[in-house]
Subunit: 90 residues, 2 copies
C-alpha cells in the first residue's frame, strides 16, 4: 500500500516556541553541540490502489489547504512506498 509523507515545518522567519523550548531543555539534560531546533508536523497518508501523478497533485493541494497554514508553514511531499508502487508512479 503506497504511503505519502507530508512534512510541515514553520517557515525560517517564523518564531518556533516549541523548538525553542526543546533547545532550552537540552543543556539541562546534558546534551550539547546543538545550535537550533525546529519542531514541525509529519503526516503519513495511506492510499488504496496505485499512486498517480494526479494523486500526488491532490496531496499537494491537501497539504496546502488542510495540513499546513501556508502563511507560516512550509511543506514537503514525499513518497515512501514499496518499489513496485514507486514504479507505478513513473
Amino acid at each position: 500500500m503506497p504511503r505519502v509523507v507530508v512534512d510541515v515545518m514553520p517557515k525560517p522567519e517564523i518564531l518556533d516556541p516549541q523548538g525553542k523550548a526543546v533547545l532550552g531543555a537540552l543543556p539541562r539534560l546534558g546534551f550539547s553541540g546543538i545550535t537550533d531546533v525546529r519542531q514541525g508536523k509529519r503526516f503519513e497518508l495511506e492510499f488504496e490502489g496505485e499512486l498517480t501523478e494526479e494523486t500526488l497533485a491532490e496531496v499537494r493541494k491537501m497539504a496546502e489547504t488542510l495540513l499546513s497554514n501556508p502563511v507560516i508553514e512550509d511543506f514537503t511531499v514525499s513518497v515512501e512506498t514499496p518499489v513496485a508502487a514507486v514504479e507505478a508512479v513513473e
Copy 2:
C-alpha cells in the same frame, strides 16, 4: 551545517485522534482514496561542527528521553546534510 531529523510517530496500536480528525475531514473537502492518516512530530536539529557516531548516539538518547514518549511513540533518526558532512560520519 549538519542537520539531524527526528521523526516521532504514534505507535501503530495507539489511537491517533489528530490523524483520525484529518482523515474525517478529507471527504468533506473533496479528497478521496486515502484509507488512513497518522499525525506525528518532526524535529530538525542543527549541529555545529562535524557529526560523529557518538553525536548520533546522543541524538538517539535525546529522542528517547526528551522528544518522544517511548510508551506510545516510535521515533526514527536520519541525517539530512551536505555530502561532506555525511562522509565525515562514515
